[in-house]
């Protein structure tokens, strides 16, 4: 029996190796093929038509020497989807084809006006064995496997392939999908980019990571091919100097990369920006964030206890990805742009925004019906992150739920109004942050507390929108060492 693995190492013909002229592809297990067996026999005799037979080398009986294509090499290379197919080769290249039995087309194709006399005018064909699901994967690996440069690892017969991934240290603690060559080839269908193109240099080992390696890890994470462009953009964004994935990995702090996706692609690939957007249950949300983490782990070599020194970590380091919800219901306009739009991305463009997130904290306010009251509560929570006496040290992100967003918008506030008000409410007065003040040793170093200090640096407060329609709750998410000295939020367009 031929296996995918054997195929990768087998001798693959350079081309279909067929002479110019007519080629007919048939199989016995197809009523239309048996119906036109005499027609094919005549073409073979009178027009030197080459007949490829997919399942029975003796079929059609009348053909002097049908070409045995039970290995399906030629059918695959010719891209046959239906039998019978009649096609014409000129200079080794196909110029036209007819699929199934269409008497008039076969006649005009061959120039034989009486071809198929007595046969019905039309019969659809059957599926080619080369696209049969039980065969197509092996064929694909045989003929396209050389696009893949990664080392092949054979799993021993008595070894469980899931356990093998754990044993080799490839997983985040949860099972992974074994990255077989055919799965990786399918994953690569999700992008136009070449498998050998370098996407980024992955810390901490500073390994140049190809599209293929991202695809391997995306398979393991459970991604579908259409998610791959999002994963690629996330990997690119994470490995910029601004985002500083190395430091984020190495820190003793909780943080990991949070991936927020914007644009039409979020709906096209079925991401969830609604109920439980940051929780479990949606494949795209769950696996895109996980794929990024697996790339850092496997390609970059970043592992907990190794370069990852996080004191406690957080569950978001398995995966933390969700799409921003479109702002609906109220008059649309520039008053409440998506966070990605604020980062320079067009409202209809696809992008990822990465933030060094330490975890999700709930913010409740079920009584405020006026923006000012709601902003005050929100500011009070933000001011305490990650310590009530630290300023300018950490960025923060707010994820406003639809019900909280409605309060601001019905009250006539723009997104900038909210940000300005939070800045005003979270600015510390001189002396408030002195070390020891308020009975708390923590605070700002000497010399920093003589002037008013804003809690967040300019650009250090991100405001997203997501969540289910019910619930006067929003999320606040702390960052990590902010700005050029730590990690800055990074937005990247998603390619194809």
């Amino acid at each position: 029996m031929t296996t995918a693995a054997d195929g990768l190492r087998g001798d693959v013909p350079a081309g279909h190796g067929l002479p110019d002229g007519l080629v007919a592809v048939v199989k016995r297990d197809c009523p239309t093929c048996t119906l036109v067996a005499d027609v094919v026999t005549r073409l073979s005799r009178d027009q030197h038509c080459v007949v490829l037979t997919q399942d029975d080398p003796s079929f059609p009986e009348g053909v002097a020497s049908p070409v045995d294509d039970t290995a399906l090499d030629r059918s695959y290379l010719l891209g046959i989807e239906t039998v019978p197919t009649l096609l014409r080769l000129e200079h080794g290249t196909e110029t036209s084809r007819v699929e199934g039995w269409e008497r008039d087309r076969w006649r005009s194709f061959t120039g034989l006006d009486d071809l198929g006399d007595g046969l019905p005018e039309y019969r659809p064909g059957c599926g080619s064995l080369s696209v049969d699901p039980t065969r197509s994967d092996d064929l694909r690996v045989r003929f396209e496997g050389d696009r893949l440069a990664s080392r092949r690892i054979d799993i021993a017969v008595l070894e469980d392939e899931m356990e093998a991934a754990f044993d080799r240290g490839w997983t985040d603690g949860l099972p992974v999908v074994p990255p077989t060559p055919v799965r990786v080839l399918r994953m690569l269908d999700g992008t136009d980019r070449s498998p050998d193109e370098v996407v980024a240099v992955i810390p901490p080992d500073l390994v140049a990571c190809t599209v293929e390696k991202v695809a391997v890890n995306a398979v393991m994470a459970g991604c579908r091919p259409e998610y791959l462009p999002v994963v690629l953009a996330a990997v690119e964004a994470a490995c910029t100097d601004e985002f500083n994935m190395h430091g984020l990995l190495a820190t003793t702090w909780f943080s990991g990369p949070m991936v927020v996706v914007n644009g039409p692609i979020t709906r096209r690939i079925g991401m969830n920006s609604g109920i439980n957007a940051m929780g479990q249950g949606n494949r795209a949300n769950a696996t895109i964030g996980r794929a990024l983490q697996l790339v850092v782990r496997n390609v970059g070599g970043g592992r907990p206890g190794g370069v990852d020194r996080s004191t406690l970590g957080n569950p978001g380091k398995y995966t933390f990805c969700f799409p921003e919800a479109p702002v609906r219901d109220l008059p649309a306009g520039p008053d409440w742009p998506a966070q990605a739009t604020e980062m320079g991305i067009g409202p209809d463009e696809d992008s990822v925004t990465l933030f060094a997130a330490d975890g999700v904290r709930g913010f409740v306010d079920q009584l405020s019906r006026e923006p000012e009251s709601l902003a005050r509560g929100l500011a009070a929570v933000l001011q305490a992150m990650p310590h009530p006496k630290l300023a300018l040290a950490f960025d923060a992100a707010v994820v406003l739920s639809p019900e909280h967003l409605r309060v601001f918008r019905e009250g006539g506030w723009t997104k900038q109004d909210l940000r300005d008000r939070i800045t005003g409410l979270t600015t510390f007065r001189p002396g408030e942050l002195t070390r020891g003040a308020g009975g708390m040793a923590e605070g700002m170093p000497d010399g920093f507390d003589t002037v008013e200090l804003p809690k967040f640096r300019d650009g250090g407060l991100l405001v997203f929108h997501a969540g289910g329609g019910a619930g006067l709750f929003s999320a606040v998410i702390g960052g990590w060492a902010s700005g050029a000295m730590g990690s800055q939020p990074v937005t990247r367009r998603i390619g194809t």
């Binding site: 693995a5 690892i153 060559p181 055919v182 070599g301």
Partner: protein, 99 residues
């Protein structure tokens, strides 16, 4: 003719960076610091300077020469130029990982 179902795939692709790291010999450790220049690298974590000030004083009390360095930020690896500078100017280096 019914095609045989293929055997379950038993080959997977290596998801790692496929590094085969070079084995580096550690630089021989000096048996004494006498006559050597000691680099003191502050990674700029809070109070790392306090720790290094103490070390600096005690090393100088022993008649050793010291040189002070600091990383621009503790969140990123030391820049190549800084590492080069230290390796050219010092025989040994002590790095403060205070927190």
């Amino acid at each position: 003719m019914t095609p045989e179902r293929p055997a379950p795939a038993r080959t997977v692709l290596d998801p790692t960076g496929e590094l085969s790291p070079d084995a580096h010999e550690r630089t021989p450790r000096p048996t004494t610091l006498d006559g050597l220049t000691v680099g003191l690298l502050d990674i700029t974590k809070a109070r790392g300077d306090v720790f290094l000030d103490q070390l600096d004083r005690r090393l100088q009390e022993r008649g050793l020469s010291t040189r002070r360095y600091s990383k621009p930020t503790f969140t990123k690896p030391a820049p190549l130029d800084l590492r080069q500078e230290i390796s050219e100017q010092c025989h040994v280096v002590i790095e403060a990982l205070a927190d």
